[in-house]
């Protein structure tokens, strides 16, 4: 065994998995996990913990894995995270915990993400149940949205003894974990539903089909329904479009629509009613994780899939692992390419996409080199489906129906990062609703801070 290298993780063969929705990565078994855990040198000043937005005691749980005490390892993680099976799968570990790992200076870092996943999967398979609070404080808190921010905030508050209700607009809880991230990356039944069930076991109630701002307002929750504080974790769900000609043609979808049809409504399954236009030749516009998810979904539905991205591979905002997986599965990357028009047939169906070649110029405000159009380089890609994956922004439903709730010009709710306090007393917010589209783990961190802020607020009240 080469101690400088990670124990490799088993995956479904790329050719096989490109045709099914089963999970790509199999994860470690006990032996592999213990062997990988042994690579951790248990640093006194563990930098990995600083790299973790929710500050999991990483060397602590890895030490338990190394010794085969998996239940104890689960307890260590549960102190900081309510969603380890999710985080072990979708966190960008390479830029967080693993990015700080001392082993990574000379060789590969410890595979912290895969170890977290192993512990979470082991505890699920062995019926490990988190402990509910023993004290009840008799105070009601409402949480808006059941995505990673809301679930984390609700879980933390329940552990402190608050009576927490989560209000979810869709018919299934989970937010982006349910409607956004596909089955092959984050299995819904075994992983997402189990972790939500664990949050319920902490005493959290989840009411689905309630749209805060429409079915009931924040003010009504506080004045009429007896909630003493509210945490808004409603995410960033509104899709962006490019504003180019032809964008309303049939066969043009937002990545949100495409993924929601498939993940939430299970359009990929014959026995569900919701339809999806699979497409024979699909262009996905964008280079983020959502673009990769949409591309790999279209691939599995049987299409030839192209990623169309205006910068080069180095600037792709998606995780390297996701880009590799997409490439292995056969997604074609058309980089330094930008759509200028969607071409349609006589029935208003997409028949192609006119694109322009780009080159990289000087760095822009984001620090990445700015893409510059090359004159006269336009050409047509023949496709029948276009999926726009250009990012999302927060839904104004809540801010527009809550008097005195301050938002910024991007429609994000203004909240203090350390405790989630908004401009309204008793109202806290965090996650994508505050920051704009970001990651699962950053939303969880904001949920934690919100829970802390609400606890401080209600303790003083």
């Amino acid at each position: 065994m080469d101690v400088l290298k990670k124990i490799p993780v088993r995956e479904q063969d790329a050719k096989v998995r490109a045709t099914n929705f089963e999970e790509v990565c199999y994860g470690y078994n006990q032996e592999e996990a213990m062997e990988e855990a042994a690579r951790c040198i248990n640093c006194k000043n563990a930098k990995c913990i600083n790299g973790c937005p929710v500050s999991i005691n990483i060397p602590g749980f890895i030490k338990e894995v190394k010794e085969g005490n998996f239940e104890e390892a689960a307890n260590v993680i549960a102190e900081s995270s309510a969603l380890p099976a999710v985080c072990g799968r979708v966190c960008p570990q390479e830029s967080q915990c693993e990015g700080q790992c001392i082993r990574g200076i000379k060789g590969e870092p410890v595979s912290i993400g895969k170890l977290e996943r192993f512990v979470a999967d082991w505890s699920r398979e062995h019926g490990f149940v988190p402990k509910a609070a023993e004290v009840k404080l008799g105070k009601k808190v409402a949480v808006v949205g059941s995505g990673p921010a809301g679930l984390t905030c609700a879980g933390d508050l329940a552990k402190m003894g608050y009576e927490v209700t989560i209000f979810e607009a869709l018919h299934e809880p989970g937010g982006v974990l349910t409607y956004g991230i596909p089955e092959f990356r984050l299995p819904k039944e075994s992983v997402v539903q189990t972790e939500i069930e664990n949050v319920r076991k902490l005493g959290v109630r989840i009411e689905t089909d309630v749209i805060i701002g429409k079915s009931v307002t924040i003010d009504e929750l506080m004045d009429e329904e007896g909630y003493e504080a509210v945490f808004i974790g409603s995410g960033a769900g509104l899709p962006k479009f490019m504003g180019i000609p032809g964008e309303n043609a049939n066969g043009v979808f937002s990545a949100n629509e495409y993924l929601t049809r498939n993940n939430l409504m299970k359009a990929f399954r014959e026995d569900y009613d919701t339809p999806i236009v699979a497409g024979k030749k699909v262009a996905v516009v964008g280079g983020g994780n959502v673009a990769m998810d949409a591309a790999r979904t279209a691939l599995r539905l049987g299409a030839e899939v192209h990623i169309v991205y205006r910068r080069s591979e180095a600037e792709l905002p998606a995780r390297v692992e996701e880009v590799h997986h997409a490439q292995q599965e056969g997604v074609i990357f058309n980089l330094l390419t930008n759509p200028v028009e969607i071409l349609t047939d006589e029935n208003d169906w997409v028949k192609g996409i006119k694109v322009r070649k780009m080159e990289l110029g000087e760095p822009d405000a984001s620090g990445r080199r700015r893409p510059v159009e090359i004159d006269g380089s336009d050409y047509v890609m023949e496709v029948d489906t276009v999926i726009m994956s250009l990012g999302t922004s927060p839904n104004p439903l809540i801010s527009s129906t809550t008097e005195g709730l301050e938002t910024n010009k991007r429609q994000c709710i203004v909240a203090e990062p350390e405790n989630g306090q908004t401009s309204r007393p008793g109202v806290f917010a965090g996650g994508d609703a505050v920051t704009g589209a970001a990651t699962v783990i950053l939303a969880m961190e904001a949920g934690k801070h919100g829970a802390k802020g609400i606890h401080e607020y209600l303790s003083q009240k």
Binding site: P239, P275, N395
Partner: protein, 293 residues
């Protein structure tokens, strides 16, 4: 589970149901809509609100069988329930938010076509409750497909019914009635509210543009979540792209691009037709839908 208290067949393929949904009943306003999902495998279906009872906590919906999910929904009876019933969604009709005196000062003409009679009803009822008598035109293909006649008669000022085949009351399209009221009878209207099939709304708008009569339409495009998340319901209104679910469903009919909206509505026709054939024929379905052999 949202319990169905009443289920009634109004006409061929058209059904009315009273559903227990206290949160929706408490908050809803004319012009808004709900999304229902029958069971685990059903679609999320946007339906306009036909009536509501805040005390009883019930909402009345009317729907027509158009796809696999509505076909299965039609089989539900009183005592059954919907797995999901969420709302209210969209923006209330403009007059609900406006100064009442200003609304009272206007003459309204409501034009309902087919199942579109259902969303027109709560608006006309609101008018009656606020002491405003409005003219209402209801159009149907034939006498058998005319719905909610008695309910509408109770709340409308003048009610004009027309059928395409002349099997009941007037014969002809709703546009012919509008023309008759304005041109022959010399009625003046300040606002027209037209709700029905897209093709009807398109032709009503074409006429009212000529008559210089501002017209509001209620759009019913394909939707998934109904909260602004997917963008499936996008429309071109004037120079802007609007989402029917959060910006609408009601828009200035003279600015809506109906041709685009109608083409977009066709998008899932094949897929939905397929799912429906499967629902009807089950495992015996082998061909005939145009998609399989």
């Amino acid at each position: 589970m949202y319990k169905i208290l009443k289920a009634e067949k109004l006409a061929e393929k058209i059904f009315l149901m009273d559903v227990e949904a206290p949160r929706v009943a408490k908050a809803c306003q004319p012009g808004e809509f709900v999304i229902v999902k029958m069971d685990e495998k059903g679609e999320r279906i946007p339906l306009t609100i036909c009536d509501f009872n805040r005390e009883k906590g019930t909402v009345t919906i009317v729907f027509q069988i158009v796809g696999a999910s509505t076909y299965r929904m039609a089989e539900l009876k009183a005592g059954d329930g919907f797995q999901d019933f969420v709302g209210p969604l969209g923006q209330p009709s403009e007059f609900v938010k406006e100064d009442l005196e200003e609304v009272k000062g206007r003459r309204y003409l409501f034009v309902a076509g087919g199942v579109g009679t259902a969303p027109v009803y709560p608006q006309v009822k609101w008018m009656k409750e606020h002491g405003i008598a409005v003219d209402v035109i209801v159009g149907a293909k034939n006498k058998e497909l005319l719905i909610l006649e008695d309910m509408m008669r109770e709340v409308a000022g003048n009610l004009y019914i027309t059928t395409d085949d002349g099997s009941y009351e007037r014969k002809g399209m709703v546009t012919e009635v509008i023309q008759d009221l304005v041109e022959n009878q010399g009625n003046h209207y300040d606002v027209c509210v037209a709700i029905g099939p897209m093709i009807m709304m398109k032709f009503v708008c074409k006429l009212t543009k000529e008559l210089n009569l501002p017209t509001i339409v209620s759009m019913n495009p394909v939707m998934v979540d109904g909260t602004g998340m997917c963008g499936a319901c996008r429309l071109t209104v004037g120079d802007e792209v609007k989402f029917a679910c959060v910006d609408g469903p009601e828009f200035d009919g003279h600015l809506v691009n109906f041709d685009e909206a109608m083409k977009r509505q066709q998008m899932y026709k094949t897929e939905e037709g397929r799912a429906m054939l499967k629902a009807v024929e089950g495992d015996t379905h082998h061909g005939g839908c145009g998609n399989c052999n």
